[in-house]
């Protein structure tokens, strides 16, 4: 996962409120190197006695040179935080914040074009590389196990669901990436699938999609044309009614292509093994890896 696994893997955390601080501690427990924090009113103080907190991302970058930025800033200010990190040349940004206005994200997306920064999220659980003890986000560290299956999902809880099943069956993960449930996000299924295809440590790919948009179809197209590794996928939202947002801002059926059935058909056509329910993902991966 060379694109997400930076050599030094030094992480900056922006937004050290109640949730941000709690999650930062969990990242540290997992083994992540958190080198600095950014908070407007806590500048000059230390987090956990030894991690310096700065008033701006630029200062934090100058003093601690992080590669990765993790954002817990509240929604009204989150887009600005992303832009601040882009301007400071952070290579990978994970934005966990939920509920960022769509208009803010389309501007961020436009601003990102041509820049070297990769954005994951917003409204996502972030990513985790078990072998590297790198956890950037909120995926529970206790459920993962180092191994060779790459997991990518739009939904946080379903990412955990898939990981738990794999770990229970003794199947470890090369990396787990939650790309988030918003319609406008930085990293797509296609981006992560490309990374897994290139990654030497990944032998098989698990993808969990949901209703809404055409991102799963784009992934199916990519898998069909340029992925050699086996893929297991599950799509949730078969029972969702048209026109109603199912919690995730992106999970809404608008037009035929947004339907679960359409997505499943495209994936099947690309040779992907379909788990009818996410609860069957572990078993499907097990069968697939045995055949190999």
């Amino acid at each position: 996962m060379s694109l997400l696994d930076k050599d030094s893997n030094k992480v900056l955390i922006q937004g050290l409120g109640r949730d941000g601080s709690f999650q930062a501690e969990r990242c540290i427990e997992f083994g992540t190197k958190i080198v600095s924090g950014v908070h407007p009113t806590k500048a000059g103080k230390k987090f956990k006695q030894n991690i310096p907190i700065f008033g701006s991302v630029n200062e934090a970058v100058n003093e601690t040179s992080p590669d990765i930025g993790l954002i817990f800033v509240p929604a009204p200010f989150a887009a600005d935080a992303i832009i601040e990190q882009i301007d400071a040349n952070i290579s990978v940004i994970v934005c966990v914040t939920e509920g960022i206005p769509i208009a803010d994200m389309v501007k961020v997306n436009e601003y990102l074009k041509g820049k070297k920064t990769r954005l994951i999220g917003p409204n996502c659980p972030g990513y985790l590389i078990p072998e590297k003890k790198l956890k950037v986000g909120i995926i529970p560290g206790s459920i993962v196990k180092p191994g060779n299956v790459g997991v990518v999902s739009r939904s946080g809880t379903l990412t955990y669901e898939a990981i738990v099943q794999l770990t229970k069956l003794g199947i470890g993960q090369s990396a787990c990436v939650g790309i988030g449930g918003d319609p406008i996000n930085g990293t797509s299924f296609v981006d992560v699938i490309d990374m897994f295809e290139e990654d030497e440590n990944t032998e098989a790919i698990v993808m969990i999609g949901e209703i809404g948009g055409i991102k799963e179809q784009e992934a199916a197209e990519r898998i069909k044309n340029s992925v050699s590794k086996p893929v297991v996928a599950s799509i949730v939202g078969q029972t969702a009614p048209e026109g109603r947002r199912m919690g995730h801002a992106g999970a809404v059926i608008t037009g035929k292509s947004a339907l679960a059935s359409e997505k499943i058909n495209s994936l099947k056509d690309a040779g992907v093994v379909i788990a009818d329910s996410p609860t069957e993902i572990g078993q499907k991966v097990k069968e697939l890896l045995k055949i190999k």
């Binding site: 389309v106 436009e110 739009r154 379903l158 669901e161 209703i211 029972t239 009818d276």
Partner: protein, 388 residues
């Protein structure tokens, strides 16, 4: 958040988008007065949050004030169900009364977010007045789109190029040019996810008017539009959904299902709904209690689900992370104690403090069976509902 036509037209008017003369009325007397001042043919439109009003009888043309009084009397206080609204009946508390226009042509104009291209898009069609999805399907070449760079806004040259293809005449084209720019101003300043003008009418004497207007505002942006917040019409929402909203629960009532679902996480909630189909039945609702739900919030969720008359069984599926299962269990037990409303439950608990939660629930008087995971929960539901 959806606005009513009268609210949308008020915004259009403020931004110099031409609309026919019209006023909103809450009583038939007010309606009669407005029609008198129009002094001619008028249109009375039910103000509900549902599309397809015309076909459902929610739009009526009246010839004079007597006629208007009669129509308004019938409409106000009644409900409207359209082909787009499913089983929901929308209460008509207000009607919009508008001067009828002599129309020679109906066009279509909308601004929305294109999630695939990740930018705003202007959609224009010469085939206005009808269902635009149908136009898109049957004659896709009649739909023209202009993508907008959100950092720049709509480039005038792009709008000019669009209009020059259409042969609408100089007078009409000039008006549409300004209308598009003014609508984008609204779209941008109010954080809209949709502005739809269907039809955008051209009158006999070449005046362009917005005959209908639909505006939807991004819910996540409401924090910066305190004036818009007040336009929210609570009566147009399912009352259980409204209650859920005030407790920070993402709840959606679904038609014709029997299984009440209580889940944490939107993705897991959808997967849980899907599993009810495997059990040979259907979900009665979508409910995501959120990542860090409190005892009170879970209690509220329990109350909302158990007060739904369609619910015959409840499926609880909680994966404790930040959420603690024991806290959730206490919320469920409190809900039961305070309502004395017991419906059989199938419960799947995993993650943080799930063992403690199970002990608490076992000690309660609730009718509960536990399942290891969703597939076994499906089997349990089948048994309990007697589905063979």
């Amino acid at each position: 958040m959806q606005l009513h036509e009268y609210q949308a037209k008020n915004i259009l008017n403020k931004h110099n988008v031409p609309i026919p003369f019209g006023k909103v009325a809450s009583s038939y007397l007010e309606c009669e007065e407005i029609v008198k001042s129009v002094n001619g043919r008028s249109v009375i439109k039910a103000q509900v949050h549902a599309g397809g009003r015309g076909k459902a009888g929610g739009i009526k043309v009246v010839e004079g004030s007597e006629d208007a009084k009669k129509v308004a009397k019938e409409m106000l206080g009644s409900t409207l169900k359209t082909f787009q609204s499913g089983d929901t009946e929308f209460p008509i508390n207000k009607v919009y009364v508008e001067e009828a226009s002599d129309i020679s042509r109906e066009l279509y104009l909308a601004l929305t977010m294109d999630f695939d291209e990740k930018c705003p898009v202007i959609i224009f069609s010469t085939e206005g007045g009808m269902n635009i999805e149908e136009v898109a399907e049957k004659t896709p070449d009649k739909i023209i789109k202009i993508h907008v760079n959100p950092l720049i806004g709509p480039s005038p040259y792009k709008i000019r190029n669009l209009l020059s293809q259409l042969n609408l005449g100089k007078k009409v084209s000039q008006q549409i040019f300004s209308i598009i720019q003014n609508l984008y101003e609204i779209f941008n300043s109010l954080d809209c996810t949709l502005i739809e003008i269907n039809p955008l009418a051209v009158t006999e004497n070449d005046k362009v008017l917005a005959l209908d207007a639909k505006i939807t505002i991004d819910d996540d942006s409401i924090f910066r539009h305190s004036d818009i917040k007040d336009l929210f019409d609570k009566t147009q929402m399912n009352q259980a959904e409204l209650k859920a909203l005030s407790s920070d629960l993402a709840y959606i009532k679904l038609d014709r299902g029997k299984v009440g679902c209580m889940v944490n996480g939107a993705g897991l909630a959808m997967a849980t709904m899907d599993i009810t189909i495997k059990a040979g039945t259907a979900p009665a609702n979508f409910l995501d209690v959120g990542g860090s739900a409190s005892e009170e919030r879970i209690e509220e969720a329990y109350k909302i689900i158990t007060s739904d008359r369609d619910v015959e069984i409840i499926l609880v599926n909680l994966f404790g992370g930040i959420l603690r299962c024991d806290v959730a269990a206490k919320g469920i037990i409190n809900g039961f104690k305070n309502t004395n409303n017991s419906i059989p439950m199938v419960v799947v608990l995993r993650g943080t403090n799930s063992d403690d939660a199970r002990l608490l629930l076992e000690k309660s008087d609730l009718d509960i069976s536990f399942a290891e995971d969703l597939p076994s929960a499906a089997v349990e539901i089948r048994n309990k509902l007697g589905i063979s």
